[in-house]
Symmetry: C2
Subunit: 373 residues, 2 copies
């Protein structure tokens, strides 16, 4: 398969996901540039000129890349579509690095944004006085389940059938989709970034399951099935409570978020009277072992960039998020850091002092107080 | 061994601990009456007239009881020493039941009080307008490690060498000790009930270890060593944090509490650079398996009657107890109840509105505002 569109794509980040996406796109004939901050991690790719990829169906290919670089200016020059595939903790640094080099019309997609990724990216560009007229969008989660076994290798296990995406503001979503759907027709419209940000299921599952199985993880090196063994009936009830807090925050902001049970039913056809039952009814969770250590992105990414921003929005709009706060507090103690302070606060998202009406206007049309005449 | 003292002792509560204490005392010749609220649970003892007991050294005996009853008036009439051996959740009901029948000079010892047991007992007697001049005391923990394998059987595994006890007020401690040391010379003086209440190590160990191993407990029915497997380095650090909060609450109230590490060194000669190391250095913890279920007194007793009162005192005196609060919150969600409301609040302890000076005067001399002229 080869593309004739001439679409210039930059993939930012050469972890498991970034290598898979870059190789997948390049193998299909797109002009792909791959950026990684640390050149050592992409040196082998640069020498070989591409990434070997194996697909879901066992097929193998090589994705030859146009450019492999740790120079952000070189990476994004001329790109129409910039796919950011980095941990949410790096969004800020990527935005800062891109800011001086962005050009009008470029589209930046956060894969995924976790919670508030587009808000934070936009805010950083504003603070860096970036005047280029770019569009920022965020995906609800990552398109692939993928793993990289070697420095220039990628393997895609599964691909989601549909993946909601929203631009900030939502008036730009169709423009972004017309671009990204050319390469990934799985992307579908989310109403706005509050939907992609508040339907972040990792916020609910990852920290709680890690913390409530903390002893087990550390004592055994994660030698148990994370969702099957780690979600007992009581743990399921705690997840339900956290999930209800998340959905209530969304409701308070005028957003009809999916419950975890609705999401399991839609995404995996996994049904159950309780969340515990629905999780156990999902064959996709079988065989997924627990993290091997408590120093894991399920805490150090999902607490500051998923739970913290949801809890911040909850407090701002009068929702009881004490369950989330307990998880955040435990994570802070576990890692000896202040994830509340280091995470995505309202201020970092550029939402401090905005009313719900103003936030809604911002996500829908891009207008906010400071852009009023 | 037989006693000639004629000391009349009532043991309140016929659980593992109550049966062991009643049988131990009776076997040594004391006149012992045993009370239990539910008669069915003591019927076999009443029929047999006593409790078979096996001791630490393998010796067997039978403790014949003077009276086995669920009539509290009959149970405590004429008793000089009333040993309360019930979960802290029952202290209130026991106090209410005793209130109309108490006589001047009787001594009530809570074995143990957990945190604030003597305060709550005193407060309930006051609210019930009990005018008898009785003395309330609390022990720091329970004297035995004991288990009851049958309806009229008890087994004592281990006996503590020393066990701090304080009366409320502390001016009565020596009077109480002169009585209880006749039967148990292991009792020693604690400075006042703030010491016995704030040196409650179960508050630190029990809820946190249960919650941070919740999935493991429920998935395996507690099939691992609670302290040896369940206390990993990270869990140890969380325990250290909670313990520091407890010791800081004590310090803020002018009490020099022992740290968990100091306590392990003193009580078990278990030393280590970290709490994790010290716990693993304690042979007494080997072989203790985890709770089989999350419906366990480590949550439903230790959260409302240990953590909640310590956290209440912390908030009252300006100490950051966010770690404890996270544990309390998690326990509330786990059990679907409000342990903060149901637990030992300042109000239930009769401490609401009292300044530190007033609380100190209360524990030292028994005077408080309402007993001022």
């Amino acid at each position: 398969m080869s593309s004739q569109s001439g679409l210039q794509i930059t993939v930012i980040g050469a972890g498991h996901g970034g290598k898979a996406m870059a190789a997948d796109l390049a193998a299909r004939g797109y002009a792909v540039r791959l950026y990684n901050r640390t050149y050592e991690n992409i040196e082998v790719i640069a020498i070989r000129g591409g990434i070997e990829i194996t697909f879901e169906d066992g097929r193998r290919d090589i994705g030859y890349l146009r450019c492999v670089t740790s120079d952000i200016a070189e990476a994004i020059a001329g790109a129409q579509l910039i796919m950011v595939v980095v941990p949410a903790s790096a969004h800020r640094d990527i935005a800062l690095a891109c800011a001086p080099h962005l050009k009008n019309g470029q589209v930046i997609v956060l894969n995924p944004g976790r919670t508030g990724g587009a808000f934070e990216f936009r805010q950083v560009l504003r603070e860096a006085n970036c005047t280029a007229n770019v569009t920022i969008a965020e995906a609800e989660t990552f398109l692939f389940a993928s793993r990289s076994e070697g420095p220039a290798e990628a393997h895609i296990f599964r691909r989601k059938n549909t993946l909601p995406l929203a631009a900030l503001p939502a008036t730009q979503t169709e423009t972004v989709l017309s671009l990204v759907q050319e390469v990934y027709p799985q992307f579908i419209t989310a109403r706005n970034v509050l939907y992609t940000s508040l339907n972040n299921m990792g916020a609910i599952f990852h920290p709680a399951l890690t913390l409530l199985n903390a002893g087990w993880i550390e004592a055994t090196g994660g030698d148990f099935e994370f969702y099957i063994d780690g979600v007992t009936p009581s743990i399921g009830r705690i997840l339900e409570r956290l999930d209800r807090e998340r959905v209530t925050v969304a409701t308070a902001m005028g957003v009809r978020a999916q419950s975890a049970q609705e999401w399991l039913a839609r995404a995996y056809s996994a049904h159950g009277d309780t969340l515990h039952e629905a999780i156990h009814a999902n064959p996709g969770y079988r065989g997924i072992t627990a993290p091997r250590t408590l120093r894991h992105r399920y805490i150090f990414e999902d607490v500051p960039y998923s739970l913290v921003p949801i809890a911040e929005l909850g407090r701002r709009f009068g929702v009881d998020v004490v369950g989330m706060e307990a998880m955040i507090q435990l994570a802070c103690i576990l890692h000896g850091t202040d994830y509340r302070h280091r995470g995505r606060t309202l201020k970092r998202m550029g939402l401090e002092g905005l009313s719900l009406t103003e936030i809604t206007r911002l996500v829908e049309t891009g207008e906010d107080e400071s852009s009023q005449p």
